[in-house]
Symmetry: C2
Subunit: 159 residues, 2 copies
Amino acid sequence: MSPIETAIKMTLDRWYGSVASLDKLLSVLSDEQLQKETATGKNRGIYLLGHLVAVHDDMLVLLEMGEKQHPELTEPFIKLADKVATELPTVAELRDFWTRQNQLLREKFDQLTPEQWFEKHTAVSAEDFAKQTYRNKLNIIISRTSHLEYHTGQIALLK
Amino acid sequence: MSPIETAIKMTLDRWYGSVASLDKLLSVLSDEQLQKETATGKNRGIYLLGHLVAVHDDMLVLLEMGEKQHPELTEPFIKLADKVATELPTVAELRDFWTRQNQLLREKFDQLTPEQWFEKHTAVSAEDFAKQTYRNKLNIIISRTSHLEYHTGQIALLK
């Protein structure tokens, strides 16, 4: 395995490890627990789960892997704060979206070559990318893993 | 910049970004706020800050960058749960440790060559590393960044 292949494996393993951590946490939290606030007056578990699904849905677009599967989640879980949207999917629906999404993302990630991971993502222009080659697809995985861990730490407080 | 140098920059930039996020959060949280529980019955801010300093202190050893600066923090902030140790540093002391530690880690990180980032860390044997080349120094940064984000998400609930 070349150093570059090793670096890609390290990044993807960390992503999959973070996904597995939240999976495990969701398996011990009931739907009722996920309806609760992570701390007094703060986001509820259901909101954070929906937020993660909505943010990860956008990775498909950023990584040129297709269209969003759940464009209807952007408004209630990214644009709006918790407890603002009048209608939300159920926790059971969000659990299902989360599981299917992780399968889809894994299939898509498996198809990328090392060279493709270092190509630009769709939110950066070709001109900017020429000077900032770190704004590549692999970096989307790095930043989204951090974001996932941040909110997993909060959801863990519902245990 | 070679792909490998780009990959190292991406990983270190994410680490420094996560450190900066917690710096910013600590700058708006008072010592009194950090004495509070992140959620009812859960770890206090002071414990999580001490825990992060203690865990990052061990990075010096794992990365062959010297001895721990604060070995006395391992017991109260890693081995013991919150509210068990009878004596803890003050929040002001922990803030100072955190700031100095980040300066020291940056100086040490700056000294490593790309090749050295892909050398084995000290918690893996030479035999295991021969088969598992991903157990290198850069991977310590990746895993500790995830850990830092997880607890930063919790400390953010004190705002």
